[in-house]
Assembly symmetry: C2
Homo-oligomer: 146 residues x 2
């Protein structure tokens, strides 16, 4: 969250309420020492943990398990110049407990693509930040030099 | 880009064509040693460099100038189970050349929020990758255990 840039900061509860509205976010991590980002389906678990589902053999799992990641979701209406963005930053861990896995297989998120061996990755919500566009005017396509 | 996960890899030209369709993407960087991500307006410059506009005094500028960042844009239709995601990875640099700045002030991207001192940040397209969802079935809301 960057301050003083024309956006309104959102509180934790507002962030979680907005996150619950959308089915897709983006997991931000490091891959081969470079910043990486990937859209994924997700759901909230226990109100504030982000859980996503992917193939057990995916590179994503190897890249994020045991590391701190950021998870971002947003809704932006460029024409209306409105929107919000929420970021959850915290440790990502593969769910290894069989009972927990079973519960998430029933009630948790679904992967984009079915896989015979799916795993769940939980992102602990160490830090939840969000911002909402509340002011300014849309400058799309408007030449500022008359 | 992760392979073998049900997505089709896109070539560089397809990636750039898709990027040119959308006005907003997300800049992925490191902030205070943590992964960070922020939606921003942008445009393509010279066909393949991503250029964004922000306040000269913003924390974003200080965080990304001179570093390697990832820039992601996507369009996802969760209901239709279709979409694409493109990532440009490369060095971010603030445009300091006055002639170049002037040109971008005329023809370049517009910031969400007007600022008396705006700067342009160029992301060199060292690596352009993309993926398109082409298969599988939507599993949203469908319980896989009958």
């Amino acid at each position: 969250m960057y301050s003083n840039d024309g956006f309104r900061e959102l509180g934790r509860q507002d962030c979680l309420r907005l996150l619950a509205k959308v089915p897709v976010g983006r997991i931000v991590h490091t891959r081969q020492a470079l910043p990486a980002v990937l859209p994924v389906t997700f759901c909230l678990d226990g109100d504030d943990a982000v859980v996503l589902c992917t193939s057990a053999t995916s590179e994503l799992v190897r890249a994020v398990d045991g590391t701190v990641v950021a998870f971002e979701a947003d809704e932006v209406n460029a024409a209306a110049h409105s929107g919000w963005s929420v970021v959850v930053t915290g440790p990502a861990t593969v769910v290894t407990d069989p009972v927990e896995h079973e519960r998430l297989a029933r009630d948790g998120p679904r992967s984009w693509v079915p896989s015979p061996r799916q795993v769940f990755v939980r992102i602990g919500p160490a830090l939840v930040t969000g911002r909402e566009l509340v002011g300014g005017r849309t400058l799309y396509g408007v030449d500022p030099t008359p």
